[in-house]
Symmetry: C2
Subunit: 350 residues, 2 copies
DNA sequence: CTGAAAGCGCTTACAG
DNA sequence: CTGAAAGCGCTTACAG
């Protein structure tokens, strides 16, 4: 029988009205017959505690259903067990895969994951960082390298470990996990050239820094080819969607009827283009080749199947979380930049 | 100039080594020339504080870049500013839409959102609840009604407001926001009957309680029709995916060549079926009608466009969060159950 | 290996 | 409308 069942949920008469109603470390310690400090140490598995005492503490904790009060722990130790993760969008499957991988690394280690969505806005990101810093997290995971100067200095002043995801930086001491966005764009250009395409276009919506880099890599390769026309660049500010992909596809082909290869900045747009082409009976890849980016689950199954760049988004999350844990444990000898590469998956659409 | 720039990030000599290095309420109060309690009240906007003093406090806070320590606040007040949200899956777009809507309601009110993924396991859900309860959240948002008895009693003992999402319950005093899963399945059955279909099937993967209810509603309507064969029920335990939808579609038609209408428990499966049908040149809806569930963004754009049940998932999140806020503020007079309905969107596939 | 004392930075409850 | 005192439940730093 736990003391709770006899005391009632609102606590015994010895507890003040501000008590949380849950067992405290002091109660646990009393039941285990040790001091609170020893109980604390036993529960955290730190320092040297007599194995026998530690067992008694663990047993009492199990009997009481004791869970330490994280607020008290954070206040006393000046750091929480949280890790803040900032991503630019929740509705993009890309980041969900990354998030799940992060969860899988951090949760088993008893770390709480605080998720912040900054909607592709560095200013919003700054606000979130300011707010999360108050929680004294053990580490922070950031997406991209486009932070405001204030965000960077806030982070530096805090001394909290930070790992940047999705892009590679050469800045000294910056821990980052990702792949070369620029190179992936270049790979698509080379692929379309190898397929005999000469009249190319890059199509993007809501151009974020990474999509921009991909476009630049695409342009770079094409510019090096003397007998190839510079690519058409179609970029609109609206958020990306399947519907928009169809519209942009139609607009592009109306304006440039001889286009024979399109690199869409993501799979959503490319999928929309393929649906629209199917509906209008525009042969793909016969009339025009289509390449996407991210290799979403659906892309391998549509008709025609979509050629795309497979990004290591789950691996990025996992590696970034692991690196963060290493940094939290004071282990920072490894190479700061981790390049996980990408893969061009050639399918029917190109 | 903030005191920080002269003191340095690790704090002045008056601060002990355990100090967090950030300005405290006491410092803020000293600068504003008031007592800490008054500063606290001014910042929280509670009780009656002289407007002039309040302004001084706010100015000092802005100058210092003061953000209250949430751990101290939680410890002192016995409740945090967090709301825990438990969802069965992160990789399902359905719940992402709900989450975003929840965020949009809660964040502007200064509430932190803790996201827990219980992977469709009530046991895991129980662990998460136990853990999140330690954080003393202001409220909890749950998905579905399949909690373990321990979860229910944990929740009841905590006294923390809870709102259940996605399903409707008649249990007295249970606040829930959703729609009738059973009715939505019935609506699909009626739709297919109206389209002249007589040989029907229900196909599901990783049957969760809600998909089960939909199947039962589907069966109920068909059972009432004397001249209609009872539907085929194909359910597999694997997680749902586009690829699996294609496989199940093929398996089903091989086993039952005369099937002329299929209700898939979600759009992912239905989309996979349509892709596979296109590839095998099985006419849809000519040979077989296909209906999905959820109306994912892509469903309106594929070829043929997918008939589906549009679920109010964002609205569920918004209404649930609003109801939770009302409960947190002690306002619980409203009807506990909120039925947001659903809509059958008839498109080309049926 | 163990513990008594102090303190983390706030808010509550009580006085005035 | 304002404040001095006490305390939330832990961990740190020191001593033994």
């Amino acid at each position: 029988m736990s003391p709770r069942s006899s005391d009632g949920p609102s606590g015994g008469s010895s507890r003040g009205s501000r008590a949380s109603g849950r067992p405290t470390l002091a109660e646990l310690a009393r039941i285990a017959g040790v001091s609170p400090i020893t109980a604390s140490r036993a529960l955290r598995g730190v320092a040297s505690v007599d194995p026998d005492l530690a067992r008694r503490v663990r047993e009492a904790a199990a009997a009481l259903n004791y869970v330490a009060n994280p607020a008290a722990r954070t206040l006393a130790s000046a750091h929480s067990d949280a890790v803040a993760v900032l991503i630019p969008s929740l509705s993009n499957l890309l980041f969900i895969d990354t998030l799940e991988a992060i969860h899988d690394v951090l949760m088993p280690r008893g770390l709480e994951v605080l998720i912040g969505n900054f909607h592709y806005s560095p200013e919003e990101e700054e606000k979130l960082v300011r707010n999360y810093l108050a929680y004294q997290p053990r580490g922070i995971l950031l997406t991209g390298l486009e932070q405001t100067p204030a965000t960077r200095s806030l982070l530096k002043a805090s001394g909290i470990p930070v790992v940047y995801m999705m892009e590679l930086s050469r800045e000294a001491g910056l821990h980052c996990v990702g792949f070369s966005q620029e190179e992936s764009g270049a790979a698509v250009a080379r692929h379309l050239l190898a397929r005999g395409r000469r009249h190319l276009a890059y199509v993007a919506a809501q151009l974020d820094p990474r999509a921009l880099e991909r476009g630049l890599g695409f342009q770079r390769v094409l510019a090096a080819e003397r007998e190839v026309r510079p690519p058409v660049w179609l970029s609109v500010p609206e958020p990306s969607s399947v519907a928009l992909g169809g519209e942009l596809f139609v607009r592009l082909l109306e304006a440039y009827p001889d286009i024979d290869g399109i690199f869409f900045c993501n799979d959503d747009l490319a999928q929309g283009a393929i649906f629209e082409a199917t509906r209008r009976q525009v042969p793909i890849p016969g009339r025009v080749a289509v390449v996407g980016f991210n290799d979403l689950p659906l892309s391998a199954h549509m008709a025609p199947r979509l050629t795309s760049i497979r990004t290591p988004r789950a691996k990025v999350g996992e590696a970034a979380a692991r690196r963060l844990v290493a940094l939290m444990e004071g282990d920072c000898r490894a190479e700061p930049a981790i390049d996980l590469g990408f893969e061009l998956v050639e399918r029917e659409s190109s």
